[in-house]
């Protein structure tokens, strides 16, 4: 049965239930040695992979923070630009300038 607890909170025995034959059943000195040596290599490999993945997660997290900061800055600038546009639209000169632009376009046709 699959546990609903996070993997870090589970014991190794939860992950690989140790039912079945006793530990010494079907033992073989050569295969036990090969098995143990390879288990240690696998353990080392798994550790390296965890470290590598952690580094990559950390790196991606930094990138995420940088991207978020840049996004916030861009939003602030956008907001400032919107404010300036509103000011321009509200000025008394704006209707005059817009009329001149329209007249120029008409004349060009």
């Amino acid at each position: 049965m699959t546990s609903t607890r996070p993997i870090t909170e589970q014991s190794i025995d939860d992950l690989t239930p140790d039912t079945g034959a006793p530990l010494d059943h079907g033992a073989d000195a050569t295969l036990d040695r090969i098995n143990l040596e390879q288990a240690l290599r696998d353990f080392e490999l798994a550790n390296r992979r965890v470290i590598d993945l952690s580094q990559r997660v950390a790196s991606l997290h930094r990138e995420l923070l940088d991207a978020r900061a840049e996004l916030s800055l861009t939003r602030i600038r956008l907001h400032e630009a919107d404010r300036i546009i509103d000011c321009l639209r509200q000025s008394r000169l704006f209707p005059v300038v817009r009329a001149v632009v329209r007249a120029t376009r008409t004349l060009r046709r």
Binding site: P17, G20, H25, G26, A27, I34, Q38, R49
Partner: protein
């Protein structure tokens, strides 16, 4: 004279009380005339109560080496034990095999032969009814093929046709796959990232190909594979699933072109041709060796059992003529040109003789004409059974 190969056949076991003994008994029957074969049963600490003890006794009685790992490793790491044992034991080849397989007697001979054709072959997968996309189509493999004598006959038959042929494939299937031990040293082991299993041999195959080696299937050897032996019940596979999605994602990430390579391989039509040709080879060998009957009927072959049957659809002059045997189906290529021989003559040529009987399942405008051609004017009318 060829050098004797030293082969380790490793059968990985996890539960499977109902089928593992048959696999081991099948393995010890293998022909060792030209090569030395040691069998190693690797019990991945099966949790089924009492099973590991039973298996140990069985292996002792059959003089097969048995090892039970102190903890459950999962398929990739259990297979790695096999690969490492072969390396340490100075074997020349290792066969990694599931425990729901019936091995043909010519397995080792044929696989070693294929390996010997090219020094760059890193893996040879046996042909089977259940070997992913390479599977030879069969209507009812469990009923028809799970029999040692039939497996031996089938394997001998395809061996006669394909010999040492090696078909290059996108990836091997480790249900029954031979790896020369030099390839283990060069390519390495199965990656334990694949946890309890599935896709590890795909990853291994692709690593071997990246190093310039070949992954092949041997159509000249046939092993019966039940499939999903103990994986579904062990929770390794979700019900109805044939793979583990998370592992497929790892393969996709590591080898972005793999799926398109498989697509191109399938689209090339090589498998389709091989399947059609393989089925025809088996059916033709069967009708020639065991005799056959002919059925004339509109609905096609009613069954595909242990007796070869040629079925003729009498509805149109160019209707297909098919042949079935042990769940295999093939179409006989009949020359329909006016100057071509009569259908009957061509069937007799294909079968190497006349049928033991002709069964008339349906009557129709062309049936009498066909019966005349078949020289079966007094065919047995059994059509009421089909009504």
């Amino acid at each position: 004279m060829t050098t004797r190969a030293q082969v380790l056949l490793a059968i990985t076991v996890y539960n499977g009380r109902s089928f593992v003994p048959a696999a081991i008994r099948s393995a010890i029957r293998m022909d060792t005339t030209n090569h030395d074969v040691d069998i190693l049963v690797l019990d991945d600490h099966s949790p089924e109560p009492g099973w590991s003890e039973e298996l140990a006794v069985l292996c002792r009685d059959l003089r097969v080496r048995y090892y039970c790992t102190p903890r459950n490793l999962g398929i990739p790491r259990n297979v790695n034990l096999a690969l490492l044992s072969a390396h340490e034991g100075s074997y020349t080849h290792v066969v990694v095999a599931n425990s729901d397989v019936l091995f043909p007697t010519n397995l080792i001979e044929s696989l070693v032969d294929v390996c010997s054709t090219d020094d760059t072959i890193a893996s040879v997968t046996a042909w089977s009814n259940n070997a992913s996309i390479y599977s030879l189509p069969n209507d009812d493999p469990v009923m028809m093929l799970s029999d040692q004598d039939r497996v031996d006959w089938l394997s001998t038959t395809v061996a006669n046709r394909y010999g040492r042929t090696a078909l290059d494939v996108p990836a091997g299937i480790s249900f029954c796959m031979m790896i020369p031990t030099w390839a283990v040293r060069t390519v390495g082991l199965m990656d334990p990232v694949f946890g309890r299993g599935y896709c590890e041999e795909t990853d291994w195959s692709l690593r071997s190909q990246q190093l310039g080696f070949r992954c092949t299937v041997a159509p000249g050897v046939f092993a019966y594979h039940a499939g999903k032996g103990s994986n579904e019940s062990a929770g390794l596979l979700r019900a109805g699933a044939t793979t583990v999605d998370e592992h497929e994602l790892i393969v996709d990430m590591r080898y972005p072109t793999f799926r398109s390579d498989v697509g191109a391989f399938v689209a090339s039509g090589v498998l389709e041709r091989l399947h059609a040709e393989g089925s025809l080879t088996i059916c033709q060998a069967a009708v020639r060796e065991f005799g056959y009957s002919i059925e004339v009927g509109y609905l096609g072959g009613s069954s595909s059992g242990p007796a070869p049957v040629v079925t003729i659809d009498p509805s149109t002059p160019d209707s297909p003529v098919s042949v079935t045997f042990l769940g295999f189906r093939a179409t006989i290529d009949i020359d329909r040109r006016p100057e071509g021989d009569a259908v009957g003559r061509q069937i007799f040529d294909f079968a190497g003789g006349r049928p033991t009987g002709v069964n008339l399942l349906d009557r129709g405008p062309r049936t009498q004409h066909l019966l005349d051609q078949l020289g079966a004017e007094h065919a047995t009318p059994i059509y009421p059974a089909r009504v």
